[in-house]
Amino acid sequence: MITLQNVTKEYQKGSIGLYNVSLEVNKGEFAFIVGKSGSGKTTLIKLLLKELEATSGDIVVNGYHYQKMKRRQIPYLRRQIGVVFQDFRLLRDRSIYENVAFAQQVIEVPKRAMKRQVQNVLELVGLGNRLRALPDELSGGEQQRVAIARALVNHPALLLADEPTGNLDPQNAQEIMDLLVEIQKRGTTVIVVTHNKEIVNQMGKRVIALNEGAIHHDEKGGTYDI
């Protein structure tokens, strides 16, 4: 699903974002990426989304070879990747339904199919009865569920969650993690970037720990310790 081979990202001012990183994530796998601020987590996410170009090395995601790709193919790559952010990034002036439907509108899904798929995905995240609500009328946990629904509605092969529980209380954080595991069980590869030590240690999933741009350890059933 994801292959990184000797990937280095050097920024213009000479600082290193990622140094000689190689890793592989299989289809349907669940993995945490952990590390202190500045360890390279965000650089890795941006490289996977092709928001940044690697300075050297190869990246392959779901058959897309990043180094050989043309610019115009980037939107089609991104349709394979659902993204969830810490700050939800919902459109405040649109209803929950419209926020999720927006993702389908962008890839030009016919209206009837869109209606069905949006309804289904909102039910999956437990918000099937809040279609008309505006984001500000929902709790943080609910808003993150909407963001997950938006990331999932186009059936991506990979779900990237960047600090999805960063703004949530422990109970909501746990519920979101349970939802992500449920999504993984349905066949989607899930990668979660997090600082939440408790959740990582408790879930017993694969942990890829970064330190100063390099892989510190990569263990199945691993822990947060760096």
Partner: protein
């Protein structure tokens, strides 16, 4: 697919206009001012050209012959003059016709002064060719050519008028061109500004669109529609103003300054609008689309 994208572009483009009401109105206002000035310049230019054309038509060259020209000499000169590609028409003016015209112009209302001339033609031997050129700018060159022809005694023409008209024509075209160019640039800049504000307002939305796989074409569509609609609205309103204003002003001038109509003829409003409406629509649309596509392209490249 294309229909869906168009529908989305229109819907979101119109929403953008209403979301940024004040800036959209300001841009429509500025485009209106530009197109209005463009329309006024165009109308004035068209009228100046019509007047110049009228004046041009009256600027002819008279070619007189040597007194001892052999039989058939005048015909040969006529043929030679006709053969120049710059010549529009050649008319033979007999001595009798020349005298009759002179009498009419000079002795009008003083016919009694002509008594001594009865039965005589003082302009005998003053028959000539009256030559009209395709363009007044050829005057100097052709006068030289005609003077050099065998059998030609004298060439007469209104030197100042011919050169003045030619220069005025050229100057008018340059000034109008410069004004129109400046206005167009200002308009493109303004549309670009308005679209920039629209982009800033929707920055978050565009960022999300890019992350979830929207193509650049899809992101661009609403902004192009926004620019195009602003351009069209901004060009249609001044057309109405010019249509009504032109009629009112021309009627007023004809009414109050009747003497002007002796040497200038106003171009009918419909004749102006036939060119002005499509030209303004195209310019408005062009300004709108150009301004917005430059801006969004710049933004999407980053």
């Amino acid at each position: 697919m294309i229909f869906r994208r168009l529908a989305y572009g229109f819907k979101e483009g119109l929403k953008n206009i209403f979301r940024n009401k004040i800036f959209s109105l300001a841009t429509v206002g500025t485009i209106m001012a530009c197109i209005f000035l463009l329309g006024v310049t165009f109308s004035v230019l068209l009228n100046v050209r019509a007047t110049v054309k009228q004046a041009e038509d009256s600027v002819t060259i008279s070619v007189f012959f040597d007194e001892k020209l052999p039989e058939g000499g005048k015909d040969a000169i006529g043929k030679k003059i006709k053969s120049y590609k710059e010549v529009q028409s050649v008319r033979y003016v007999s001595a009798e016709e020349a005298w009759a015209k002179y009498k009419k112009e000079v002795f009008k209302n003083n016919e009694d002064l002509l008594e001594g001339f009865e039965g005589k033609n003082p302009l005998n031997e003053s028959d000539s060719y009256e030559v009209m050129l395709k363009d007044v700018k050829y005057h100097g060159k052709m006068v030289k050519q005609f003077k050099g022809l065998d059998g030609v005694r004298k060439v007469e023409y209104a030197k100042g008028a011919a050169e003045g008209i030619s220069k005025a024509n050229l100057l008018g075209a340059y000034v109008a061109g410069a004004i129109i160019l400046i206005l167009l640039l200002v308009s493109v800049f303004l549309v670009s500004n308005t679209v920039s504000i629209g982009i800033a307002v929707r920055k978050e939305e565009i960022a999300i669109m890019r992350l979830i796989g929207a193509t650049n074409r899809f992101i661009r569509a609403p902004f192009i529609v926004e620019g195009a609609v602003i351009g069209i609205v901004g060009s249609l309103i001044p057309m109405g103003v010019i249509y009504i204003g032109y009629k009112v002003i021309v009627n007023y001038i004809i009414d109050k300054f009747h003497v002007l109509t002796n040497f200038m003829e106003f171009v009918p409003v419909n004749q102006i609008m036939i060119y002005l409406i499509p030209a303004s629509l195209l310019v408005g649309l062009g300004i709108g689309c150009l301004g917005s596509s430059f801006t969004i392209r710049k933004y999407l490249r980053v």
